[in-house]
Symmetry: C2
Subunit: 532 residues, 2 copies
Amino acid sequence: MQSYGLTIDKFLDHAAKWFHDSAIVGAEAGQVVTRSDYAGLRARSNRMSGALAALGMKEGDRVATLAWNTPHHLELYYAAMGIGLVCHTLNPRLTAAHLAAMIDEAEDRVLAVAADLAPLARELAGMCRSIEHIVVLDALAADGDALGAGRAQVWTYEALLEIHGAETEWGAFDENAPAGLCYTSGTTGSPKGVVYTHRSNYLHTLRALQADAFALTARDVLLLAVPMFHANGWGLPFAAPAAGTQLVLPGRTIDGPSLAHLIRDEGVTIAVGVQTVWLALADHVEATGIALPSLKRVVIGGSTCPDALIKRLEEKLGAEVQTSWGMTELSPVGTIAAPGSADPARGSGRPPMGLDLKLTDADGRTLPEQRGVQGHLKVKGASVLDRYFRAESDALDAEGYFDTGDLATIDAAGNLTIGGRSKDLIKSGGEWINPNEIETIVGTHPAVRHVAVIGRVDAKWGERPVLIVESEGKADARSLLDLLRGKVADWWIPDRVAEIAAMPLAASGKIDKNRLRADYEAGKIPAVAMGR
Amino acid sequence: MQSYGLTIDKFLDHAAKWFHDSAIVGAEAGQVVTRSDYAGLRARSNRMSGALAALGMKEGDRVATLAWNTPHHLELYYAAMGIGLVCHTLNPRLTAAHLAAMIDEAEDRVLAVAADLAPLARELAGMCRSIEHIVVLDALAADGDALGAGRAQVWTYEALLEIHGAETEWGAFDENAPAGLCYTSGTTGSPKGVVYTHRSNYLHTLRALQADAFALTARDVLLLAVPMFHANGWGLPFAAPAAGTQLVLPGRTIDGPSLAHLIRDEGVTIAVGVQTVWLALADHVEATGIALPSLKRVVIGGSTCPDALIKRLEEKLGAEVQTSWGMTELSPVGTIAAPGSADPARGSGRPPMGLDLKLTDADGRTLPEQRGVQGHLKVKGASVLDRYFRAESDALDAEGYFDTGDLATIDAAGNLTIGGRSKDLIKSGGEWINPNEIETIVGTHPAVRHVAVIGRVDAKWGERPVLIVESEGKADARSLLDLLRGKVADWWIPDRVAEIAAMPLAASGKIDKNRLRADYEAGKIPAVAMGR
């Protein structure tokens, strides 16, 4: 059989050849601002490769992006990856100090930045010696002129393309070459870089396109409301052109009204994002009565979605909800509920072909029974991390599995349900308490906005759970603990309760338990002692 | 990213873990004879690997099969490939001499044979020195006792499994290791071996599973009516477990009544085979009124299916017809019409992601315009042949493309239509005549059963077309030629016409033009000269 490298430039080549006139729509605040197609996108991306080469970028060099979901950002993905550069997506919601640390470690030479983030880019250019060029996206050619940024040369994207753009050969490198770099959000330690290869992205794409996974077709219109800086936008910037699916890129604004208008006006059939986005959309639909007849499916990922919420979304949006689970280290899809499966106990679905899962005990021994019991979730596959960027050793067990750090159960039908982070487990009197179970129960109280359970050091028991809530003031500590009685073992019930004004959230939107633990130990979170 | 070999044993492992109780049904003459599931199939296949190893089979050794679509045959696929043996599928409809030549070239050490083909296997064992063991499938353990076969030792499958079966590690080899061997049908030359690798089969499977291709899901029940000796049964023995799809294996008999009963009784949702099979099914449905409510899709391949026939099938079967085009050298899927595309001009559909197509002129130069013109079809991809088995050089052009030998057009929407074999083109007065176009027109005559146009040597023009028909006697030569007037250029109209009693067919069911040309040159086909 032919030697044929699995490189991701082939996705855009395929789209440009077979779905040349499928639309790529760029929007801002719910209004369409650009309209192109795969042939146009491919031509521009390919010319931008030439421009990057003209800046002196060489195979393996890193191009950082600090940008929203726009056609310029998508063009840069392919412009960089097509010639073997590494596209390093940065999360604009991190602090300048965090971003600078990542840029320094990655030694990014080019920083492409959304126009509205230009001040941040200027700050970063002052902090990071590696940055030689700043490319301002989503702006007119003239807009960049006013920008000064220390040592770095500043271009607008369009000016750079006009001056240095040139047709360039794509894909002339090994399929194991790096293609992307993305740092984990760091809720459980300092951020770590995950390097994607062309092969891993290519195989992830084919995995994701299966009829029981994303199931994209050439007749679909996909709204990408998950940021392209989160694990390659869940791989959809690759999957959409591979399937010839039309793309709607909503820009920075992904509030309910903006997305509702885009879905209605562009005939979106599949929408992908985190649950808070879809809740806001459902609220807007409810408040305004706007009809979204084209919408068939909403894919949710990023956190476990309670059944009641799924029902509410399906009712309000008139579309099927597909739950999923993944992580940056998995490229990112782990499991997904099949379209049309309509299983009320779907959990986060099953792994589409190409990923092996196993559950182990705390010592890494494979559990003899893999169904109906909770265990530590380990994964293996062609799109799964082996070693973090710049790390000195692999993050794998003896059998080559990566430890997700998650606790999970798998039901008889094979559906996965995540049951919290293993690092958050609390060891009390030699036995484990799972804070996730306590949080889920307390979270049902109508006045509770956010809930977290952390472990505190205890002289007698080793650790004891502390319940921390952000509420609307109507939840007294006693009534919260009463919710737990009969549902968890008595000794699981927290004996300290704290009310805080605002729960600390990480850039990913998840609760930052590291911060909570540090603040608690420093005495910054006063807790009330409660008898059981 | 992890090093993770793309080996096909992973498909059955996946099915056994996530779809352990999905049914595998074996049938004969429309009656179910065995009922198992993926967990059972995996366990037996894996133990059969141990048995093959016990016979002394080593990585890279060939196991030949001469068998129908049965669970035993499927078990052998995985038993062989799982430990790096090469599964060489033989077509039982070839002559013993042809089969012996293939076995000799492949040096097959084990020959697995359907019980009803045991006499043929005995004959082959006498002819081929490489065969050490004959394994009789689909028979009771005791059935084999009576079989003597020269030097070769004879086992029944069940006895071999019982005596030597043992759990065995799968997949401990490189993804580029050979997995399968299949000879082309040889209508355009002597049969040539195509070697599939694990990587090529794995990637073909993910390609085929896309929502715009076979789109198999875990809720589907697949009837595999394409022989497993034709290019891996179009890859479906890999795709079905990868997607967790239930499988119905119909055995030797694939007539209308047998398939109708299986589809009805087993709730088949997707049925795959050549068009003659579905025509027979439609006839049976029409004659008996049997209802097949579960059937959603019928996938057709192997030859171009006229629109009128597609309409008739869709009406009678109440299912969507998916046309496709492929070849042994392509593993085999090239293009396929997307489910739900309902495009009346769908041709054979588009290539799902993972295959590059181009059209060239007769000299191999890429046509400047790829749409709306006929050209020579070339293909590139990870599941496309580079070199025939035992050949001394690659079968690729300078850009790494394989010449399909087909003429094709691609319409504005990207749909491919095959327009005959380039080798069948006739050069008359320095210009090309495409016999396929003439055949298509003459084939519309109601009395014509088979039609072929071949070139004869002509002193003046170089070559001239000869029209050969097998008819029901009501088609006189003049009326056939009259059909062509105004539809093709005058000089395309054949000036010799022959009527023959039975058109020679190759083992694949296609008209054997090599034979026709040889017989014509030998004077065995008397033709009538006709003035234009």
